[in-house]
């Protein structure tokens, strides 16, 4: 990879200051960024590591909201959210593999917004906000298409707040090689209704399947989705699955998530 300067701030303020420099970029766990840099597809001048910022780590639940520090690893979320938000903990515990989960962070994952990542479905499905050094961004406004988010240059995800629903589940159908979702559905039921977030399927990245949300809001059972169909237009087609196959999986995985949510 290209050389760069690695800085390791201990506070958000130091990190933000470092990020204001030219070609500076935050480094979470690096589980996606480092392989990308090895291919020389990214060439940051400065990497600002968040691993030393204590205030950006940790998991806490109160008032129906699960707050996760932006630099919290998937492994930590899997362990520490298990009682307060089991569906999200299960999602985190299924990302990558154990070693990847020990490094990869929620902030890094959301900022990258890979169209096949798990966390975007968890956040969009839960509803909630992304907390940065400057503002709070609602989940519905955060994701803006494949690898694109509402984050400004130099803006750092310091925490993520997930609304804890009455019931929720995540159903992932893994791509056979990468084990990222080929298609996955996060379904959450709250008193306000149901949210269904789909990842892995669309060329636009994570999205809410509103027809399913409506159907499930009136009848929270897998059968409620039966009559719906998903348009294959705009779905990803690659060697692992056609758009039609992914469109089909959207429905199957949604039903499975509903069933798992109970």
């Amino acid at each position: 990879m290209y050389d760069f300067e690695l800085v390791k701030p201990t506070t958000v303020e130091e990190a933000v200051a470092a990020l204001s420099g030219d070609e500076a970029q935050p480094l979470g766990g690096g589980q996606t960024l480092i392989p990308t840099m090895k291919q020389r597809l990214a060439m940051p001048g400065t990497l600002v590591s968040t691993s030393g910022i204590a205030s950006m780590k940790g998991v806490s639940a109160s008032g129906g909201v699960l707050t996760v520090g932006g630099a919290t690893t998937h492994g930590t979320v899997a362990a520490e959210a298990a009682s307060s938000y089991p569906a999200l903990a299960a999602l985190a515990g299924g990302i990558g593999d154990p070693a990847v989960r020990n490094r990869g962070t929620v902030g890094g994952s959301l900022a990258n917004n890979d169209p096949a990542a798990c966390y975007p479905a968890g956040l969009l499905g839960s509803g909630g906000v992304v907390v940065t050094n400057t503002r709070e961004i609602a989940a519905d406004d955060f994701f803006q298409g494949m690898f694109t988010t509402a984050l400004e240059e130099g803006e750092l995800i310091t925490a993520v707040k997930f609304n804890i629903p009455e019931k929720a589940a995540y159903a992932k159908f893994a791509q056979p090689a990468s084990r990222f979702p080929l298609t996955a559905a996060f379904v959450a039921k709250t008193s306000d209704g149901v949210r269904v977030a789909i990842t892995g399927a669309s060329e636009e990245g994570v999205f809410r399947w509103t027809e399913a949300e409506e159907a499930l809001s009136s009848n929270f059972s897998a059968d409620a989705v039966d009559g719906l169909s998903v348009d294959a237009d705009g779905m990803i087609g690659d060697i692992h699955g056609t758009p039609a196959y992914r469109a089909h999986l959207v429905k199957v995985m949604t039903k499975r998530a509903v069933t798992a949510a109970g």
Binding site: L6, K8, A99
Partner: protein, 161 residues
């Protein structure tokens, strides 16, 4: 060039590292600990798994500088104090859990991390935990068996499979 210091297999060490120097390069290069291997560049094969502060990580997907001050354990630190094979290592030999040996260091390190978390894993739990460790030689059968045996569980049923 800046230097990085860490404790590796109980021994404090300091060596030069660029920002881009990966932990695995630091271990294999200046430290000469060539037991940790590199089998891919997409963070999937797990030949490079080591423990950093007691947690399994992929040393090819972590910068050496990120391990500043950390306690790092590699395959070279897994034998007993008298040099004999540790329990997991011995189980791998007893149950033919390795062939070419290239993925083996990462497998042993992942197995150690698993057994620390889950001292009596089921076969399914072992297979799931090894998601990030690819072996091309063994078909995993004997790796799973070795880890079961290392956890003190009876493997005669697997032998009969």
């Amino acid at each position: 060039m800046p230097t990085v210091s860490m404790t590796v297999n109980g021994k404090p060490t300091t060596a030069e590292a660029e920002g881009r120097t990966l932990l695995v390069e630091f271990l294999r290069g200046p430290l000469g600990l060539t037991g940790t291997h590199v089998g891919c560049d997409t963070s999937q094969c797990g030949a490079c798994v080591v423990h950093v502060n007691g947690e399994a990580v992929k040393a090819c997907t972590m910068f050496a500088a990120e391990a500043e001050g950390a306690d790092v354990q590699t395959i070279e630190g897994m034998a007993n104090a008298d040099g004999s094979l540790g329990v997991i290592q011995q189980a791998f030999q007893d149950h033919h859990g390795l062939q070419c040996g290239f993925c083996t260091p990462g497998m042993v390190m992942s197995a150690a991390a698993l057994l620390k978390e889950n001292p009596k894993p089921t076969e399914t739990e072992i297979r799931d935990y090894l998601e990030g460790n690819i072996c091309r030689c063994t078909g995993y059968h004997n790796i799973v068996k070795a880890i079961m045996a290392a956890s003190g569980q009876d493997v005669t049923a697997i032998a009969a499979e």
